[in-house]
């Protein structure tokens, strides 16, 4: 797979980042979990809360360390199977009954993805697979029964149910009522024990970095794989890679510093996540250059930035994502930044995204877009876009790779 050298440098601590390889991979996995949450409509931070509570339950049950770590990791990655699920994917208009059946496959799909991440402990994939099973065999995907469900998977199910209640007090009622039906009686009693020992206080999440075999997974490859899945979920396959290629070529043509290029590429990789919670991709309703769509672009940029801001390794992308709807003349949003006050990466990324949108528009049936995308970008230079960036971008696009 063709990756981008400067992002590798960033992930290898090239920007002076003191984080270890395991921490950087862990960051990426935590972000992946948050992306899964967004795709499945869970509230922000749900995955880490679930991981933390399930881990606390495992500790209360005095399970071995490796099992506690596996539970935490499975909690973090519990919803990654939601990406590309036909019951949630954009552009699928399934009747609710069929969509619900498709959503039953989220855990199994998540398990397949986890099994491909070699750095994860072996048990994680199965815990993700069986986290939605119910003691009485009415869960999904496998309708497993009773003790055939690993105890740790029950803990994930309990954590999930507890966090979906209005409060942990309500959770007490729900979980005791469902003891012997949704949850193993032993696991339900364990929740009561934890509640009384911890006073119902959730612990802050601590990622089990030591449980990862960091050398077994290339974080950059994983980053682009996630970005590709986000694209597929959004119904725009391959978009992120195309945009990232344009960003890298433009940064080289300017030229820009390595750290700036790496941050811009990171922002390109993350930008599609902002659209996961939206009903449509941002260019579906508005021309990519129209001011009308600016609020949507701001919202998507903010969502993507909020997700990236969760973990240190992706933070260089945050200011770029937040500023991607700023205009060069200072009339953009959200802060009305002008000229060099807008991060260089944001100036480049906004041009690349617009170009990709214009190109996509040309290929839509019944498109009225007759003007060539580069000409339209040049017309917007000086107002929406940085003229120097547009010149570099034009050179980069016209130069055969």
């Amino acid at each position: 797979m063709n990756n981008f050298g400067s992002v590798v440098a960033l992930f290898q601590g090239g920007s002076g980042d003191p984080r270890t390889a395991a921490e950087r991979l862990g960051d990426l996995l935590e972000w992946y979990g948050a992306v899964g949450d967004l795709a499945s409509g869970n509230p922000r931070g749900f995955a880490t809360r679930k991981a933390s509570l399930a881990h606390a339950l495992a500790r209360t049950a005095e399970r071995p360390d490796d099992e506690c770590h596996a539970v935490a990791l499975a909690g973090v990655l519990h919803a990654v199977g939601a990406l590309e699920n036909p019951g949630l994917r954009k552009g699928e208009a399934l009747p609710e009954r069929l969509a619900r059946m498709e959503r039953w496959d989220i855990p199994a799909q998540g398990a397949r993805l986890c099994a491909r991440i070699a750095a994860l402990p072996h048990a994680v994939a199965d815990l993700v697979r069986w986290q939605a099973e119910r003691w009485d065999g009415t869960g999904y995907p496998d309708q497993l029964l009773w003790h055939n469900i690993p105890f740790a998977a029950h803990l994930l199910a309990i954590a999930d149910a507890a966090l979906r209640c209005e409060s942990l007090d309500d959770a007490l009622t729900t979980i005791t009522e469902q003891s012997g039906r949704a949850f193993a009686p032993e696991a339900a009693m364990l929740f009561l024990r934890w509640y009384h020992l911890a006073g119902g206080e959730e612990e802050p999440f601590e990622f089990p970095f030591t449980a990862l075999r960091a050398e077994a997974t290339d974080p950059e490859e994983l980053l682009w794989e996630i970005a590709g899945r986000v694209d597929a979920h959004n119904g725009v396959p391959g978009r992120t890679r195309r945009i990232a290629t344009l960003v890298e070529q433009t940064m080289r043509a300017l030229p820009a510093r390595d750290e700036e290029t790496a941050a811009a590429l990171l922002a390109a990789a993350c930008h599609g996540t902002g659209e996961l919670a939206a009903e449509e991709v941002e260019d579906a309703r508005f021309d990519p250059l129209a001011r009308l769509g600016i609020d949507e672009r701001v919202r998507n940029g903010r969502r993507a930035a909020d997700l990236a801001d969760l973990v240190p390794s992706l933070r260089p992308a945050v200011p770029i994502l937040r500023s991607r709807a700023e205009w060069f003349d200072g009339t953009g949003k959200p802060r009305g930044l002008a000229r060099e006050a807008i991060p260089l990466g944001a100036r480049v990324l906004s041009v690349a995204i617009a170009y990709e949108g214009l190109e996509a528009m040309r290929h839509r049936p019944a498109s009225e877009a007759e003007q060539r995308p580069l000409e339209r970008l040049q017309e917007a230079a000086g107002t929406q876009f940085d003229p120097e960036v547009v010149r570099a971008f034009t050179r980069a696009v016209r130069t055969p790779v």
């Binding site: 398990a111 199965d126 009485d136 309708q143 497993l144 012997g180 009686p185």
Partner: protein, 304 residues
Amino acid sequence: MIELQERTRRISPSRLHEILREYDVQSVVDPMMGLPTHLNYLKRHGIAVHGGDLLEWFVRVGEGIVVNDLTILRDSEVAEIVEMLPGRIYPLEMFKAWEGVFFSEEQCVYLGVWHDNVRNLRSDGQTGLAVLGLWRVLCYWLFKSHYPDEMPDIPPSELAWSYIRDTEQWVMSNLRRNTVRHADVLATISAQQADALFLAPPARNAFRNVDARIWMWEAWWQGNPYLNVEHLYRNSLFGARSADEHGYTRAVASILSAADAFPVVIVQTSEARLRDVEPTVRDARPHVRTLAAGPNEIYLVATR
């Protein structure tokens, strides 16, 4: 208190489906299907499924969630199952033999009422769904006797209502013909051709120690609390050989031989039993791939 086995047979249909997809399997036969929830999963994913079992209640459930594409039980129909209907005479003493041994008097009365009501349902599909839903009630009661303080008391009709209503979600069509038959292994294999045969053979002495949740429900379905399911197995392929190691191996070999026409045979076993099963599979097929998902879930995928 009745003893319940800690571990029963675990089939992960999502994992099985991953294997079937790899081999481009469009239809599968499971001649020892047991509770056919795994066939329901495969059906939901578009695979034509065919199952068979010696226990009739498994077959009835199969008619509800494997064969049945359309029929569900509506609220009014569920209401006619879970409580006594006026004007009907019920065999309230039918399960009296279990009273005070496994269940309370009230529970035994309900078992009799449900037995009668389910037998009066209009279609095989509805009957299968009701049998499945009510079986979950039986399991709840049995567990409740193990965890008297940890599980809430739920009125029988309420529990039955919720479990029967719940079965509706498993009803769907895959636009294929799916079948189940009440037959021994070889009869099912010879009656149905498919891309793959899936086999999860029982442990050698499994038929001598059938789980209470399984035999009791067959007894309930037959309306005979004294039913001994070991008798049902006695003349079956595995039943006659359950104590004899060589006989057991020969039984597995005879299945593999009968399955010669199936392009793919998948045998699920465990680490503990792998040595018993693997040589026989390798004798029967030139290409055997071992996929170990865990110590209790090992798949031998045999191709020609």
